[in-house]
Symmetry: C2
Subunit: 453 residues, 2 copies
Amino acid sequence: MTDKVETAKFDVDAAVEHLRTLIATDSFTELLSELANVRPADIAAIMERLDRVEQTLVLDALEPEIGSDVVLELEESTRKNVLEDLSDTRIAQMADELESDDAADLVGELDDDTRARVLEQVPQESRDEVERLLTYDDDSAGGIMKLEAAWVRQSHSVAKAVEMVREHYREMDEIHEIFVVDRNHVLRGVVTPTELLLADPAQTVADIMDSESPVTIHPEEDQAEAARLARRYDRLSLPVVDDLGRLLGIITHDDIFDVIEEEEQEDISYMAGTGEDAPAERSVFKAFFERGPWLLVGLVGGVLGALVMSGFEHAIKIEHALFLPAIMAMAGSVAIQASSLVVRGVATDSFALQGLGKTLFRELRVSILFGLGLGALLGICAYGLSGGDGELSACVSVAMVIVVVNAALLGTLIPVLLHRLGKDPAVATGPFITTLNDVLGILTYLLVLTILL
Amino acid sequence: MTDKVETAKFDVDAAVEHLRTLIATDSFTELLSELANVRPADIAAIMERLDRVEQTLVLDALEPEIGSDVVLELEESTRKNVLEDLSDTRIAQMADELESDDAADLVGELDDDTRARVLEQVPQESRDEVERLLTYDDDSAGGIMKLEAAWVRQSHSVAKAVEMVREHYREMDEIHEIFVVDRNHVLRGVVTPTELLLADPAQTVADIMDSESPVTIHPEEDQAEAARLARRYDRLSLPVVDDLGRLLGIITHDDIFDVIEEEEQEDISYMAGTGEDAPAERSVFKAFFERGPWLLVGLVGGVLGALVMSGFEHAIKIEHALFLPAIMAMAGSVAIQASSLVVRGVATDSFALQGLGKTLFRELRVSILFGLGLGALLGICAYGLSGGDGELSACVSVAMVIVVVNAALLGTLIPVLLHRLGKDPAVATGPFITTLNDVLGILTYLLVLTILL
């Protein structure tokens, strides 16, 4: 068993050292035999540590069948470099080895000129498939489906269906579901290989197929919807059908894994205001331009805050300003809590289960509790810090209640509104909501001070 | 096709109204026949809108086989209520209908007394399974595995293997992979039903099984590791094996879906400081106690900020305080960007590919760019707002550079440190990092002011 545990916790460091030596001494035959038992994902992990020249050398040495899997597993920026360095022929060979969805992803990453040159070298059938898949939007169900969906006719006998699997689908990576179509290729049901295995060969496919109408998706729907359906109905894969219900392709479990993660990562990047800046991305300038706009939002908020304060400049004293950070921090935190709950609710489908009214009412009650609690605490601190200034302490408490309740309501309403408008509500979880509430918090506090003092 | 599309976009509102009428008129036979074609997840969505009495009535009417699936799909708080209202016998029937992992989850949610009473009514074999699974930690691989893993011996003929599937595994929900074990039940390989279907019945399983050593996991490892392995190696499911490599159970794709989402949601809840407060949770007090501690962190930071400022009270003027919000906002935003990139890198496995040194160095360079850019911008604004105070403007710019670089480095180092200590780095993405940087930002700005002015 030790070798299995080791495979799971693959020792990249050791492998990198060893590979480097082999490359340096031009021992490519030995390199290939060493890599024969390493999984593509692990080869990719090693590759990330090699320099660009070494990466190309390894990929040129690997069989296109393995090399293509490795390229898919590389980080985006590494893959970009590697694809620039490999020959068109090599890329075409790899694309031909891949399943249609992966081939389309790979070819889709090439610049227009290279793509045209590479596609010319891909066999006609694969080329047609890739070109068809490239017409779908990256984030759509069509953008993640593969065309290799195993199908049989409902009128086929089980024996004939087995024959079709043997003749046509043997080469497919893994078949876990076989779709049942009618003579117009309209999807009618699903059978599993296990069902075929256990059935009487003389039965028809229609006899043994799952009679429940399959959960399907249209190629132009959002990929997030595909993930939602697969999760909600515990599907291993999702057939993609056109307007007439005809089977076009299949979205498999690994695509669903990716989409779930991608969508959540998108939410996180909105919350953190990092844009698409990826952790493994190395370009400093790319990071600057991805993250810069979000920081600018915060800066504009800060400058607005300064403007607001300068309007009150003669009415307030430095003792009053002491409590601004606490008010601002609470406004931002409460708003982010509220908005992220809406976003999570939308993502996990549980938000639909409750109306907006219920959500708002709950948030209102929670925020009143928080406002009172935090207001009282900060009031006490302010009393102590100001040397017993009861008026200031009262202002701080009152302002806190207003700010917290307001932040909670805005934090709920804004993402809900975005969602209703068909926008991603997660946009409202990060810098925008914090900034808005920072400014409103400052304004509220200073207004309360001016009115009460 | 319209009916398929409708199934996917199930109209909960209409169904709720209709069901309410049926319940009100005691038409349970009609209700059952109406629900017969509705998927469990959709029944659960309807149930969420019903009141507690109606929920119990529906669940009592449903066959335990369907009812058990519905209960699993309910929101946690609804399920809690429902389990309180259903009879022990009913819960025991449901547990017996479920696969072992789901049964253990269901029974695990009961209080100790109810659990003991329910288990007494569960048939011996299922009870043993549930009790065994309950010994594993909720967040471990063992906590999400099911014991119903289909297996055959490597010495079996294909014909014998098919016979085993027919006799023992027919009842299993879906078999997509059949594990191959030796006489000691040590896992040796995997075959798919398709491979059995296409093989010569006289071959042995060892002849046709995938020779690559399977990716496995130990029951005590973290569930996140299970999800990572499944994703990294594109696995549909993951066999769980003990120290000796013996097959214990299987983690299936739907569990992996859940874990990926759960882990990401956990990161988001750390970032937002919501604790475990769930979007669909209705209790105001629970929300108060889940989210309160995170707000307290921010409040403590705010009060610390006030303390720091009061130390400089006589050295600074209200004009100086105008720029505090901008400095604080930038400190918080930059730190959150940096820390969330580390967290995303850890979650997506891409962080391991680069060393800490590279990540820090990149962050340093990016933050110097940001510091200079933001410092210049805020300096210009400060110059304008202060009516041409060049000294103040310079102080603001210098402080911004220091604050931004410092926030970026802390935002990188703290989550990395947590990760090395075996803690979840996401803890450092929310209120803690913002608060720390708020206070440091105030301190830095005021120190720069005091030194330069």
